[in-house]
């Protein structure tokens, strides 16, 4: 039994679904960031697998750029999280409902 492209794509889809479930289910902002990382990694696996099985290098390079984007997203996002934590004292999304209505 040999590995095919479909194996990798199914794995990537499963990981992406885990990420989506995390984004929808969790209410903690830090957990949302973790789930976003999971989704980005699932996309990376799909890119690398397609690149390897088709013989095109573009997939690996796009995965590299995705990693760069993820790194900068973490830098900015963590700064914003620290600001929010200083202002509200919590990272729970339900506590940020400041509008009365």
């Amino acid at each position: 039994m040999t590995l095919t492209l479909t194996h990798y794509l199914v794995l990537s889809a499963i990981l992406f679904a885990i990420g989506i479930a995390g984004v929808v289910r969790r209410k903690n902002l830090l957990m949302l960031f973790f789930a976003t990382e999971i989704m980005l990694n699932a996309a990376n696996i799909a890119f690398a697998a397609i690149s390897a099985y088709i013989g095109d290098l573009s997939g690996q390079l796009f995965a590299l750029f995705i990693i760069a984007i993820a790194a900068s997203e973490v830098a900015v996002g963590l700064g914003l999280l620290i600001l929010i934590y200083k202002k509200y004292g919590t990272l729970d999304l339900d506590k940020f409902t400041v509008m009365k209505g």
């Binding site: 194996h7 794995l11 992406f16 885990i18 903690n28 095109d56 290098l57 790194a71």
Partner: protein, 186 residues
């Protein structure tokens, strides 16, 4: 051999990421996420993308996880996360449906059959050499833009995180607590 490695890695990655998403403790979920990133680099090595695997190890499990661990110093990480979940069944139905749709899209054989490789690089070189060659010829401008973006992100991170640094975080935290919790603490 590759098949065994693939199944081992994929089962471990799925389990660790499930722990990441489901765990109530932030420290557990961060450790599970870091371990999952390391194992994903193993998948890249199986696929022959050596450079990508090394970058995944250095950037994700090195830099990003260290940044999260560093940011964790500002948050109360040992406390369990209290959340009220509205409807679990709807969430799992939605994400399961999206997984099925994704598999259907990716596994559709009609589209994948007539894709031809465009960027192959020089034959016979090993993976990091070919990556470098293609990155600095065909993808030079995206590479430079990514460098500028990282610089902007670094400056933004420094400025955002260093606001109100003169004020101690524990004082701010006490101020922000609601009245009842303050009474409980006293």
């Amino acid at each position: 051999m590759e098949t065994i490695a693939f199944y081992l890695f994929s089962i471990l990655i799925t389990g660790l990421f499930l722990v990441t998403v489901m765990s109530k403790n932030i420290l557990y979920s961060m450790s599970a996420l870091a371990a999952g990133m390391v194992l994903i680099s193993g998948l890249f090595f199986i696929l022959g993308a050596d450079f990508l695997g090394a970058v995944q190890l250095v950037v994700y499990s090195g830099a990003v996880m260290a940044l999260y661990a560093f940011g964790m110093m500002f948050f109360d990480a040992t406390r369990n996360v209290k959340e009220k979940n509205s409807s679990g069944a709807a969430v799992f139905l939605l994400s399961g449906l999206s997984a099925v749709v994704l598999v259907a899209i990716f596994a559709a054989p009609s589209i994948g059959a007539n894709i031809k490789p465009l960027v192959t690089g020089t034959k016979g070189l090993d993976n990091p050499h070919v990556i470098g060659e293609v990155l600095f010829t065909k993808y030079l401008i995206p590479f430079e833009v990514a460098a500028v973006m990282l610089l902007v992100a670094m400056i933004a991170g420094i400025i955002l995180a260093s606001k109100k640094m003169d004020k101690s975080l524990s004082e701010v935290y006490i101020d922000a607590l609601p009245e009842e919790e303050l009474k409980e603490q006293k």
